[in-house]
């Protein structure tokens, strides 16, 4: 399995002919025979889709079009490169991407120019070794087997082949992802006892945020940023924390500073736009959303909400024609995306209403409703809240409340979603009503859930399960209901013996929970228990 240079397939991506030739000569001198080159992101993606490469050497700056990071993201997203591909990003200077903890897809390493052959060969050798150590962890993560991934981290920590700190950081992320906050906290503390390391301190902040200790979390993120002004992950979390503390002006300020430091992230521009829109800073919001759209152009992460958000800004600025133009653009960009169509239709409804065109407004909202029905409940909270907002604008409060009740019931433990719904009611001068709706919807779910659990505890497992089954039918997105039903089914399996039908039902529930929140702590516990009982895997 050991990969050596000689057999490696290498792709070199650089827009500069001279650099391509030089890099090609370097790797050829190392004894590599299979070398391809590409001069643009488009060209590179084409080659990545047809050939399998062991090593990709990619210049970050590729001239007009996609940059190296975007080429990497697309290749990862489309599965053109696997966990075993070594991706080296070549840059002239240290870039934000190199330190921002927030980027989802990262190259294996960055190489700063100038490059010579010895340097390149030395680095590639080390990367191949490192890749081989990390491969079992990455493979487990990709298979969503987080328990195995954590076990593999421990193996590497013992072997000490690669930087232990790097493994600890990966392990801490896995612990957070599996909801094992106490172990994650212990890990962060052991690092922080030696020194104030940004990622470990940020991790502590995330734990406080999860525990709803927002003030404490805010202090921590601010402390990280005092010493590391460019640690964008902390800054993103600080903005999020400020919003939870109802300090939206401060959230906007934090994001302003963040985009000053790192102006090329569409997601961050979107966050700034949202915060500014919330604060009524329409010019700031417009600029931020326009940038989000422009930057997202070559990114596989481009999202329709940037368009609908921009349209809302235009509407608030009394420029309905501009708003409709933006929405038309969104329709063209996201032709086959149901959620996008719902969001766009709802936004159109609000704009037409504002223009006094009641017929068109009604028609757009009817389309949104129809699409929601067709999606049979599989609509994200964000989209549902957007539709509710339009219903409010059209004066159809009942429809709005109906939608929002469902959102709360499906996400009754999600503080951020509740916060957004509260804000929506506040915007329409209905703060008290909003709070009541959230509380009632939440209580309804809690009551059903408790009733089911009580029945089960009293010995009536089937009664409890049936109660939760009907609840799960009505609330297909409720993580709590789904996971508790799964728990009851596992209880039945261990008490009443193996049943493939029940095990199948439990597995399906687990799959749905994982989809909603891979960090659900019980997801991992129940998966293990189910495997144990059924004697599989």
């Amino acid at each position: 399995m050991a990969l050596s240079f000689r057999q490696a397939n290498i792709l070199i991506i650089d827009d500069f002919q001279g650099m391509r030739t030089m890099l090609r000569e370097f790797v050829k001198s190392m004894g590599v025979t299979a070398v391809d080159t590409a001069s643009t992101g488009k060209d590179a993606n084409q080659q990545l889709s047809t050939n399998k490469y062991d090593i990709v050497i990619c210049d970050y700056n590729l001239g007009p079009g996609a940059n190296g990071q975007q080429v990497l993201e697309e290749a990862k997203l489309k599965g053109h490169i696997g966990v075993s591909t070594v991706w080296v990003m070549v840059t002239a200077e240290k870039t934000q991407e190199m330190v921002m903890g927030a980027a989802e897809v990262k190259p294996d390493d960055y190489l700063l120019k100038p490059i010579n052959q010895m340097l390149l060969e030395n680095r590639l050798e080390k990367l191949i070794t490192r890749k081989q150590c990390l491969a079992p962890i990455e493979a487990a993560v990709k298979a969503l087997n987080y328990a195995e991934a954590i076990a593999q981290c421990d193996v590497q920590l013992k072997a000490k082949t690669i930087n232990p700190q790097e493994i600890l950081r990966v392990k801490s992320e896995l612990l957070l992802a599996t909801g094992n906050y106490s172990a994650a906290a212990a890990l962060f503390e052991s690092i922080l006892n030696m020194r104030e390391v940004a990622w470990a301190l940020t991790g502590m902040g995330k734990i406080c945020f999860h525990d709803k200790k927002y003030q404490e979390a805010k202090d921590i993120f601010q402390r990280v940023l005092r010493d590391n002004a460019v640690y964008m992950e902390a800054s993103d979390w600080l903005a999020k924390t400020c919003s939870m503390l109802d300090q939206s002006a401060e959230a906007e300020k934090v994001l302003q500073e963040a985009v000053r430091i790192s102006p090329n992230s569409p997601t961050r521009q979107k966050m700034l736009g949202d915060a500014a829109f919330r604060n009524g800073a329409l010019d700031v919001a417009q600029a931020a959303f326009e940038k989000t759209i422009k930057m997202g152009e070559f990114s596989p992460h481009k999202a329709p909400s940037a368009y609908t958000s921009l349209a809302k800004v235009f509407a608030d600025k009394q420029q309905p024609i501009e708003a409709l133009k933006t929405l038309a653009l969104s329709k063209r960009e996201f032709k086959y995306n149901t959620e996008a169509a719902i969001q766009t239709a709802a936004a159109e409804g609000a704009v037409y209403h504002q223009m006094g065109q009641a017929d068109k407004a009604e028609a757009a909202m009817a389309e949104a409703e129809q699409l929601i029905a067709k999606a049979s409940g599989k609509v994200s909270a964000e989209v549902a809240i957007d539709v509710a907002r339009s219903f409010f604008k059209l004066g159809q409060k009942d429809k709005a409340c109906g939608l929002l009740q469902e959102v709360v019931k499906n996400n009754h433990e999600n503080a951020e979603i509740s916060k957004n719904i509260e804000a929506l009611f506040e915007d329409h001068g209905l703060a008290a009503e909003g709070q009541a709706l959230i509380a009632e919807s939440r209580d309804a779910v809690v009551a059903i859930n408790n009733q089911g659990v009580t029945l089960a505890k009293g010995g009536d497992l089937l009664g409890g399960a049936n109660l939760l089954r009907s609840a799960a039918h009505k609330l297909p997105h409720s993580e709590v209901i789904l996971i508790n039903l799964c728990g009851l089914l596992i209880g039945m399996l261990s008490k009443e013996g193996k049943s493939h039908q029940i095990a199948g039902e439990a597995r399906e529930l687990l799959e749905r929970v994982r989809h909603l929140n891979a960090a659900n702590k019980n997801y991992h516990v129940y998966t293990a228990a189910l495997n144990r009982i059924m004697g599989g895997r």
């Binding site: 650099m19 100038p114 010579n116 930087n163 232990p164 390391v197 940004a198 990622w199 000053r260």
Partner: protein
């Protein structure tokens, strides 16, 4: 206002990107020609090219230092202090200058434990090392020694040579243990020192702060540049 700053720094960055590409190609081509002249026994051309390559490397170094200092001053440098293998860092700094050293027949030795990890910004500290190697290249007779030690809560990185050492006057002015900046007017390598001093001070741990110092002596009896990192 802020927007203007960003685009100006983008402009500088992309120009430097471009210049570095050219330099990289230039050095690479010169190295190739140098090898050919050596194989043909043309030692005069070989030596001349060695000097040209040294100057090109210096230019490249200055570009990086200027850009880094500009960004540090504007608080937009992505400082990233993490645990890194010190041995690997030294190895890379040496590899980056290997051909240059070969031209002048300078032997570079390294003394660093393979399991020594330290908290530092990899690119910045490598910049300090490359700069120190460039200086030592100019002043050494034929040997350079790099040593890394964990000493009293500090990482000590020493770059020593067997040249004549620093002039007395510079040793006193360059007492980096005080908070006074080095007087750079006296030396031709002001930028390199200033950059290294800034990088040292950027590294903090609790109350401890990094420092840069110069001394004469060391294991080779010449000049020593010492970087202390907390």
């Amino acid at each position: 206002m802020a927007q203007d700053d960003i685009s100006f720094s983008d402009l500088i960055a992309s120009s430097i990107h471009d210049m570095k590409n050219s330099l990289n190609l230039q050095v690479s081509a010169l190295e190739k020609i140098a090898m050919q002249s050596r194989d043909k026994g043309d030692s005069a051309t070989f030596d001349d090219l060695g000097r040209v390559i040294y100057q090109a490397n210096r230019m490249n170094l200055n570009l990086i230092e200027l850009l880094s200092l500009y960004k540090l001053g504007k608080s937009i440098y992505p400082v990233d202090i993490n645990e890194h293998s010190v041995a690997e860092l030294i190895e890379e700094a040496v590899l980056q200058n290997q051909t240059m050293m070969d031209f002048k027949g300078i032997r570079v030795s390294i003394d660093c434990a393979p399991d020594l990890f330290w908290y530092l910004d990899r690119e910045l500290v490598k910049g300090v090392l490359v700069n120190a190697l460039n200086n030592a290249y100019l002043y050494t007779h034929d040997m350079i020694h790099i040593e890394a030690r964990h000493h009293d809560k500090l990482l000590q990185l020493r770059v020593e040579d067997n040249g004549r050492g620093y002039p007395e006057r510079l040793l006193h002015q360059g007492d980096a243990s005080s908070d006074k900046p080095v007087n750079f007017e006296s030396g031709s390598t002001g930028l390199g020192f200033y950059f290294s001093d800034q990088v040292a001070k950027l590294h903090k741990n609790g109350a401890l702060r990094g420092a840069l110092s110069i001394e004469n002596g060391g294991s080779l009896g010449g000049g020593c540049l010492v970087l202390h990192l907390p």
